[in-house]
């Protein structure tokens, strides 16, 4: 019937473990499409990719709002008076040095921005997600600069999005990642 009556146990074991190892590797590789398909798809990535914003029409003291990743993003071109005010110590602020990681590393400065002239913020209150508004006349704010006031529960933020003490919002407003690709064009969602 066969060439030999003896079974080569060594060979059988080697073949058996070879099949088991290859099978496990195959099974491990088969996980890739299942896991990867659950990641954001190309359409979602396209809808969330960085956008370029033209700032050439923005005058000092003016603010524009753009929508990005479903969130309102403010871009404020600050006046010299506003910048000067930010650089002074303000004991009313809860986190004046931006210790809570609500901003990229490049924005951990008094202006909380890449360039002191331009402030870029996610315009969503860190209390319960309402949208704050700019106010010039407010007892808490500097008369020359103003600040942001949340109409829902009265949280207040200065012109770099730093939260005041004695308001419900716990932390500063979030700064998104961005970079300037030239003097008047800002790219949102990308750093250098």
């Amino acid at each position: 019937m066969s060439d030999t009556d003896t079974i080569d146990q060594e060979r059988r074991r080697a073949l058996g473990s070879g099949i088991r190892i290859l099978g496990c590797i195959g099974a491990a590789c088969a996980i890739v499409p299942f896991v990867s398909s659950l990641k954001p798809n190309q359409q979602t990535l396209d809808a969330n990719k960085p956008i370029d914003i033209d700032l050439s029409a923005l005058q000092p003291g003016q603010q524009m709002t753009v929508q990005w990743r479903g969130k309102p993003i403010w871009i404020l071109r600050r006046t010299q008076a506003m910048i000067t005010q930010l650089e002074q110590d303000n004991p009313e602020l809860r986190d004046p040095n931006s210790l809570v990681p609500q901003q990229p590393a490049f924005a951990q400065n008094p202006w909380r921005s890449l360039h002191p002239d331009y402030l870029v913020l996610v315009g969503i209150c860190t209390h319960l997600g309402c949208i704050p508004e700019y106010r010039s006349q407010d007892p808490m704010f500097d008369a020359n600069a103003g600040g942001y006031y949340c109409p829902c529960h009265g949280s207040r933020f200065d012109l770099s999005g730093r939260v005041y003490r004695q308001v419900p919002a716990p932390i500063n407003l979030e700064v998104p990642i961005y970079r300037f690709i030239n003097d008047h064009t800002l790219r949102l969602g990308e750093t250098t």
Partner: protein, 399 residues
């Protein structure tokens, strides 16, 4: 096969129906002292059936897209014939499921049903509990109301605090950078396919494992004398049917007259469509998740809070090895065990209540105390269960 073999043998030769019926019902002998608490396993099965049937029917009318989900639920409520009944039976069924399971769990703690040789019955049951939590969490997103949306947003972002992979993991779970179409669609698939299949599989294993080792009983002793046992069919089948009828009276009273249960079963905030731009004033979890949510919230450090929340569920799995008492039932355990169980149940209810309240410093301190009591029940169990003196255990069951 002989010519005379009838219909019955034709089937019996091809499927072990009669053998299974005998093994699981007519000749499955159960201690005759089982009390009211022992009906809740059967009730859980009944609710599972209710969820399966009403859920299947709801899926005929529901649309899992962010544009139409909320509207399709409104259509079910207003325009589909008896749609309101199907939906209220399903939403009340979700709360009833947890109520029944919590009593079922308490029964296990009370009579030591998790002790040797029923460890695997306990582990499979705990697995069922976790699957049920995921199942209800996925289902809660589907109406696409404000609380659906923000609840999912908050709970998925819990994973963001995991070091290194957190942010990517959250994006992977959501399939997007925020809860959106991808999230809704995969939660729907999990809710109607993956989790129900797992629930059925685990229920099957739970029952097979139980029948292999036999039911425990309120005395917590191994029943040896055949005179102390009665067959599951007809005795306990009848008892369970009686419990099911009583349950149905309460269940349908809620379905017909109090379907939202004052905001506990269906929350008013969820009658508003999801709006990613506005967070609701108070995000409250559903009552059955509130104790765990409270643990997450009461601990000021986010990472430790999450760790404790998962530990609160995970520690239940170790119960069979934490209990070192030589007796099973609370009837014969010592004072310490009784006090510890009472404190644990009290702290769990307290956490549930506080989890639905607004967070303030007083609530937070009470919740932290309750967390300590909850964990003390488990972590100190190896000590007090061994040290305390227990009452003499009878050799035969008491009625």
């Amino acid at each position: 096969m002989t010519k005379r073999s009838g219909n019955r043998t034709w089937w019996a030769d091809r499927l072990p129906l009669i053998a299974v019926w005998k093994n699981y019902c007519s000749e499955y002998f159960v201690p005759k002292n089982l009390n009211f608490y022992y009906c809740f396993g059967a009730l859980a099965l009944l609710v599972l059936g209710n969820q399966f049937l009403t859920g299947l029917w709801l899926s005929f009318f529901y649309t899992p897209t962010v544009q139409s989900a909320f509207q399709s639920v409104e259509t079910i409520m207003r325009d589909v014939n008896y749609g309101w009944l199907l939906r209220y039976m399903h939403s009340t069924g979700a709360s009833a499921f947890f109520l029944v399971i919590y009593v079922h769990l308490f029964r296990g703690l009370l009579y030591g049903s998790y002790q040797k040789p029923r460890e695997l019955v306990w582990l499979l049951g705990m697995g069922l509990f976790l699957i049920l939590l995921i199942e209800s969490f996925c289902g809660y997103l589907l109406p696409w109301g404000q609380l659906s949306y923000w609840g999912a947003q908050v709970i998925t972002s819990v994973f963001a605090t995991i070091p290194y992979i957190g942010e990517q993991l959250v994006t992977w779970i959501r399939g997007d950078f925020m809860v959106g179409q991808s999230t809704l669609q995969r939660f729907y698939a999990l809710h109607i396919i993956a989790m129900p299949l797992l629930l059925i599989l685990f229920s099957f294993l739970h029952i097979v494992a139980l029948h292999h080792v036999g039911s425990s009983n309120p005395d917590g002793i191994e029943v040896k004398d055949p005179a102390d046992k009665i067959p599951f069919y007809p005795y306990y089948v009848m008892k369970d049917i009686m419990a099911m009828l009583l349950f149905a009276v309460v269940f349908f009273t809620i379905v017909f007259f109090f379907p939202d249960m004052g905001g506990f079963f269906l929350e008013p905030t969820n009658a508003e469509p999801a709006n990613p731009m506005v967070t609701p004033l108070h995000i409250t979890p559903l009552w059955y998740m509130a104790p765990f949510y409270c643990i997450l919230r009461a601990i000021p450090d986010k990472n430790i809070g999450i760790l404790f929340m998962f530990a609160a569920m995970g520690i239940l799995f170790f119960l069979p090895w934490l209990d070192r008492s030589p007796v099973r039932s609370m009837r014969y355990k010592g004072k310490l065990s009784r006090i510890a169980l009472g404190l644990m149940v009290g702290s769990f209810v307290t956490l549930g209540y506080l989890g639905m309240q607004e967070l303030n410093p007083l609530n937070q301190s009470i919740a932290q105390g309750a967390i300590i009591l909850y964990f003390a029940y488990f972590l100190l169990m190896p000590l007090y269960s061994r040290l305390e003196s227990h009452l003499p255990v009878p050799t035969r069951i008491t009625l």
